[in-house]
Amino acid sequence: MGLLTLLFFLIIPFYAGDYLMQVLLFAFITSYLCGAWNIAGGYGGLLSFGHAAFIGVGAYSTTVLLLYYGIAGWIGMILGGFLSAGLGWLVSWTICRFQIKGFYFAIGSMLVAEILMSIVVRTRYLGRGMGITFPSIQNAFHFQFISVIPYYYIALVFVCLIILIAYLIERSRLGWYLRATRQSEEASSALGINVTKMKVMSMTLSSFLTGVGGGLYVLALRFCSPYDVFGIMFSVTLMLGTLLGGRATVFGPIVGTFMLTGVKEGLTFTAEATGGMSSFALVLAAWGVILCLVSKYLSRGIAPWVTDKFCKKNPWKGHP
């Protein structure tokens, strides 16, 4: 089943048009980022509203290294990943040191992203509010392509990687520690789990992966704007995609993102067909109704519901 899906996504570029490929590409990048969010927000229980900070750090390091110093995109992505891992380490160390929890952490992380955004907006070197546009050149070593297809395959590899990482985490001791920490900090620390270490580890890993994804995002978009990569909407999208799909599950973030993307494209399509802003808004309101219903009736997310319902031999049965 999984192999068939993979095969389908491998051969689809030969048949689909440019627009569909573009949509699929960004759906894949967002699913990858949601998967990275899932490590901290899902398994670790650190409900973060500020992952845009890590995306932005990764995106800007990639952009600056590539355009100003001519360092290849993939090196920039990894360096950006390390930079945002540093930021993630700092953030998680701070929340453990000062005991910032739950809702307060969510808002605090949002503040970090907003402050970074306002710093970037005021820095001339980073292009201020205008952002930085990439030239449209082909250079495979630098990860710069004119066509969408190479990015599509890179993003597909990234999604496979994040599935693998989530699978490994779920099966490993770390995953069990993280889930125990999420459910009760006091109880798990009484059982001898180093809660601080777990939080720092999950946040640092998640921010590293998010930073790398941010680099890929701007390379594929060929435009790096502070309001986009540091914007709160990006953080909300990551959170929404993961929570809808099912947090702390392997396939949840991907399912959730594809649902979000599908609805978004469907909306655009319907609005273009019926015409007019008000019909667009009406359909968007219907989307809000869907969100409300999902949060009430499928409160564990869509992916766990599907596996419960349709898979007889459910490998994840009984897992929290």
Binding site: L47, I100, F103, Y104, L111, S118, M277, A281, L282, G288
Partner: protein
């Protein structure tokens, strides 16, 4: 930077702060009593603005004579929202409650687009546009009236919560839900009243801010974030804290008059909030 400018920024900051305080108080109240992070809070402020627009443009009632009517309307709609929506999500997890409230926010702001159109409205009420001047200092009437109404409302809520039977019962529910149930309080009814009051808070903030800013469907989300920040800074659940945080926010935002730069004022505000969170991880007056 001269002294007069600083004094003007200070006073208008305090006036704005009162309005922001009411906005944050509603959020804090729901978070403290019902334990629900109500991200749709800003939507009610937006609807408050649109109600004023409708009253000013279509009905012949001026905005403030119809004020009591508005408050009743908001309170009743708060009761309805509790009865038909929030009642059913009290038992689901925190994260999914946030998703629910985001969904609600999307519904409300898009309904506003459907009804009032995507363009922004400007509320023009002649007597609110007038400038009142005290010596060298000059303020819009709208700011002063809005702040006065907000402060009056805060005092009323305080009296309600501390002096009346129902208010005390609401506080009991906030402290200990099971205990309140055991003593025979109608917790559901208290929750409904609390959400009704919170919606009125948000509505009042909307009514007070309406003459000051262009009104469009996007302001709902902005004010939802702002309310959330204010209540976190003051300590979620603490109403006095929300008021203090509202004043801090208003003061800092009004310093854009000195710097001529809103985004700098906002980033200073965010920085101060972060520092507060570090040293008081549950906000200024939050319970440990």
């Amino acid at each position: 930077m001269n002294l007069e400018l600083v004094i003007r920024a200070l006073i208008s900051g305090i006036l704005l702060g009162a309005i922001y305080g009411v906005l944050g108080m509603g959020f804090s109240m729901v978070y403290g009593i019902v334990k629900l992070p109500n991200f749709a809070h800003g939507a009610f402020a937006m609807w408050g603005m649109y109600v004023l627009v409708v009253l000013a443009e279509h009905a012949q009632i001026g905005p403030y004579p119809g004020f009591i009517l508005n408050l009743l309307l908001f309170f009743i709609s708060g009761l309805f929202i509790y009865r038909f929506m929030f009642k059913y999500i009290l038992d689901i997890e925190h994260e999914m409650q946030i998703v629910f409230c985001l969904g609600l926010m999307i519904i409300f702001s898009n309904l506003a687009i459907v009804i009032f159109g995507p363009t922004s409205h400007l509320l023009s009420v002649p007597w609110l546009e007038k400038i009142i001047s005290f010596g060298d200092l000059a303020f819009k009437t709208a700011t002063i009236v809005g702040a006065a109404v907000s402060i009056l409302f805060v005092i009323l809520i305080h009296l309600f919560l501390t002096k009346t039977e129902t208010g005390k019962a609401i506080q009991a529910c906030a402290d200990n839900r099971k205990g309140a149930l055991l003593t025979g309080l109608n917790v559901e009814r208290m929750y409904a009243i609390a959400i009704g009051i919170s919606v009125v808070c948000s509505g009042i903030a909307g009514l007070a801010l309406a003459p000051l800013i262009p009104i469009h469907a996007g302001v709902g989300f902005d004010y939802a974030i702002l309310a959330c920040l204010i209540s976190v800074m003051g300590g979620a659940g603490s109403m006095g804290g929300a008021l203090v945080a509202g004043f801090i926010t208003g003061l800092l935002l009004s310093f854009q008059q000195i710097f001529y730069d809103l985004s700098l004022a906002i980033s200073i505000l965010y920085g101060i909030m972060l520092v507060i969170l570090m040293f008081r991880p549950t906000g200024l007056f939050g319970a440990k």
